[in-house]
C-alpha cells in the first residue's frame, strides 16, 4: 500500500536576498525512490538539507510521518535519526576506523550497546564487500569505497528515509558504477530514497518519480518515462538535451 511519509508544500528557502527554493511541493511514499535532477545551483542540495533540518525553511511546510518539521517542539536530532543523509564529499570521520564510522551513529546517537550493533555493522560492511577492511582508516580506501562506507554508515541508523546529495559527483568516472550498483540494490530492497543526481540513466532505471528543478522552482515531475521521453516544459527539454 502506498503511504505518503514525506510531504513538501510550497517550501521557500532564502539565503539573504537570494531565494534558492521558490515554493517547492513534492511528496514521497514509503519504498519509493524519487530523483531530483537539474543544473548545479537549481536547489536540489538545499532541498535535501531542509528535509534533514540542516537548513531552516523560510516558508511552506515539510511534513514527515504526519508531523510538521517547522513545529517549534520538534527535536532536530530525533528527526535526523530517521532521515539518513549521504554527502557528495563522503565526510567519513578520518580519526575513526571504517567499523567505528559505521558504529558511531547507533552507539552515540541511539545509545544502543556496542556489542548489540557490532554484528549488524559487520553485516553491512560484508554487503559492500569491505568487511576485511573494517579496521582500516578511511584514507586508505578509494573514493568509491569511502562513499559506500558513508552510505552504510547512514543505513546503520535504520533510517526510514535516505537522502543522497549527488553522491557520485566527486568520484572518478571508473568508481561511479560501484556506488550506483549499491543504490540500485538498496532500491530493490525497498529503501525509501530522495536522490539528487546528475546520473540520468540511473534516475531513469531506478526512480519511480523524477522531479526537475530549475532556479529553485520545481518545473515538472512525473515518472521517468514522462520526464525523459516526453518532457512538457521547454526548460526540461533543453536541460535533458544538454546533459545527454
Amino acid at each position: 500500500m502506498s503511504e505518503v511519509i514525506l510531504e513538501l508544500d510550497s517550501v521557500v528557502k532564502r539565503f539573504g536576498d537570494n531565494e534558492v527554493l521558490r515554493g517547492i511541493s513534492l511528496d514521497l511514499q514509503r519504498h519509493e525512490v524519487v530523483c531530483l535532477i537539474g543544473a548545479s545551483g537549481s536547489g536540489k542540495s538545499t532541498l535535501l538539507r531542509c528535509v534533514n533540518l540542516l537548513e531552516t525553511i523560510d516558508g511552506g511546510t515539510i511534513t514527515l510521518f504526519g508531523q510538521s518539521l517547522t513545529d517549534v517542539r520538534i527535536d532536530p536530532d530525533k528527526v535526523r535519526r530517521h532521515t539518513g543523509m549521504v554527502f557528495q564529499s563522503f565526510n567519513l570521520f578520518p580519526h575513526l576506523t571504517v567499523l567505528e564510522n559505521v558504529l558511531v551513529g547507533p552507539v552515540r546517537a541511539l545509545k544502543r550497546k556496542r556489542s548489540d550493533v557490532l554484528d549488524e555493522a559487520l553485516q553491512l560492511l560484508e554487503r559492500i564487500g569491505l568487511r576485511d577492511r573494517s579496521d582500516e582508516y578511511p584514507d586508505r580506501l578509494s573514493g568509491g569505497q569511502q562513499q559506500r562506507v558513508a552510505i552504510v554508515r547512514s543505513l546503520a541508523m535504520r533510517p526510514a528515509l535516505l537522502l543522497l546529495d549527488e553522491v557520485t559527483s566527486a568520484l572518478d568516472p571508473s568508481l561511479v558504477g560501484e556506488v550506483l550498483d549499491l543504490l540500485r540494490d538498496l532500491a530493490h530492497t525497498g529503501t525509501t530514497m530522495l536522490i539528487a543526481t546528475h546520473e540520468m540513466n540511473f534516475a531513469r532505471d531506478v526512480a519511480q518519480k523524477v522531479a526537475y528543478l530549475d532556479g529553485g522552482v520545481l518545473v515538472e515531475q512525473g515518472t521517468p518515462d514522462e520526464i525523459f521521453a516526453n518532457p512538457q516544459h521547454e526548460s526540461t527539454r533543453l536541460f535533458l538535451e544538454r546533459v545527454r
Binding site: 534533514n52 540542516l54 532536530p76 536530532d77 530525533k78 535526523r80 535519526r81 532521515t83 539518513g84 543523509m85 554527502f87 564529499s89 565526510n91 567519513l92 570521520f93 578520518p94 580519526h95 558511531v104 551513529g105 552515540r108 546517537a109 541511539l110 584514507d139 558513508a150 554508515r153 547512514s154 541508523m157
Partner: protein, 296 residues
C-alpha cells in the same frame, strides 16, 4: 598566425647550463660552499666577541666561571640566592599555570563558540576578556594583579603570596591566547564533518566530543606548545613582584657581587628548559607537514 621570429627560436637546441656564478652552489660544490660559509660566519661572530675592545671586561663580568658557579649554587652565609633553586620556582609556576590555562582556554573557546541564547552574556564576557588580556602587556598584568589585588582587602583573595599573584597573572594572560588557539583548531575541522555528525542525529555536545575535538587536537598541539615555550620564559616576570626566582636570584647576585654572571647562568638554565620543548614542537610540525604532503 605564428610570429616568424618565435618560430625560428623554437628550432634552436636549448642549453640548460647554469651561469658560472650559480654553478658554484650546485652539486658537491654546494657542500663545500655551505661548510665555508658556516665557518666564516660563526668564526666571525666569535672573533668579534673575543677581539672587541671591551671583550675581556665582558668575559670577566658575564662569563666568569667562578662567579657563574657561585651564583648557580648560592651561598647562605652571604645571603646570596641560588639561581638554580630560583629556577625551581619558575618550573613549579609553569607547571601549575599550564594546567589552569588549558582548562580555562578550552572553557573560553567553548563559550565564544556557543550558540545558545542563554549564554549571550558569557559570550560577550569571553570576547571582552580575550581582547583585554591579549591587549595589555604581560608586565602590566603582573604589576596590576601583584600590587592591586592585595590592596582590595578581600579575605583570602587579597592575602596570597606574590608567587600566587604572578601565577594568576600568567593564567589570565595565557588563557586568552590559548582560547584563540583552541578556537582556530576547532574551526580548522572541515564543515562537512559537522554536517555528517549532526545528520546522524548526534547532539551538539556529542559531535564536539566525538568528532570535532579529536580532529582539532592534531592542529592545535604545535601552536599550543609554542605558547607553552613562551609561558616558560614569562615566568621570569615573577621577579618584578620580588619573588626570588632564577632571574631575581641572578639580579641579587649582581647587586651584591658586582658581577652579572648569574644572569648568564639564568639564561642558560632557561635554554635548557625551553630547547627540549622547542625541538619537540618543531618535530611535531614537521611530522604533521609530512603527513599532509603524503595524503595529497
Amino acid at each position: 598566425m605564428v610570429n616568424e621570429t618565435d618560430a625560428k627560436k623554437s628550432e634552436e637546441t636549448p642549453s640548460f647550463l647554469a651561469p658560472r656564478r650559480k654553478q658554484l652552489f650546485l652539486g658537491r660544490r654546494a657542500m663545500v660552499a655551505s661548510t665555508a660559509s658556516t665557518v666564516l660566519i660563526i668564526g666571525g661572530l666569535v672573533a668579534v666577541f673575543l677581539l672587541a675592545p671591551g671583550g675581556a671586561t665582558v668575559r670577566h663580568f658575564f662569563f666568569n666561571p667562578h662567579e657563574m658557579w657561585q651564583s648557580l649554587v648560592g651561598n647562605h652565609r652571604d645571603s646570596l640566592s641560588s639561581v638554580g633553586l630560583g629556577l625551581l620556582i619558575n618550573i613549579r609556576v609553569f607547571l601549575v599555570a599550564e594546567v589552569f590555562i588549558l582548562a580555562f582556554g578550552l572553557a573560553i573557546a567553548w563559550t565564544r563558540m556557543s550558540k545558545s541564547p542563554v549564554l549571550l552574556p558569557f559570550r560577550i564576557l569571553a570576547i571582552v576578556y580575550s581582547d583585554i588580556f591579549r591587549g595589555i602587556p604581560v608586565l602590566l598584568v603582573f604589576l596590576l594583579i601583584g600590587y592591586g589585588v592585595p590592596g582590595l582587602g578581600i579575605s583570602f583573595i587579597s592575602f596570597q603570596s606574590q608567587t600566587v599573584y604572578g601565577c594568576v597573572a600568567l593564567i589570565l594572560t595565557y588563557s586568552a591566547y590559548v582560547a584563540e588557539v583552541f578556537r582556530a583548531g576547532i574551526y580548522s575541522v572541515p564543515h562537512g564533518q559537522l554536517l555528517a555528525a549532526r545528520s546522524l542525529g548526534l547532539t551538539n555536545a556529542t559531535t564536539m566530543r566525538r568528532v570535532i575535538l579529536p580532529q582539532a587536537v592534531r592542529t592545535v598541539v604545535p601552536p599550543l606548545l609554542n605558547d607553552f615555550i613562551s609561558l616558560q620564559k614569562d615566568t621570569a616576570l615573577l621577579s618584578v613582584l620580588g619573588v626570588v626566582e632564577a632571574v631575581q636570584a641572578g639580579t641579587i647576585y649582581q647587586d651584591l657581587k658586582f658581577n652579572s654572571s648569574g644572569l648568564v647562568v639564568a639564561s642558560l638554565l632557561f635554554l635548557a628548559m625551553t630547547i627540549p620543548l622547542t625541538r619537540v614542537t618543531d618535530g611535531l610540525i614537521a611530522r604533521d607537514r609530512n603527513r599532509r604532503l603524503a595524503s595529497t
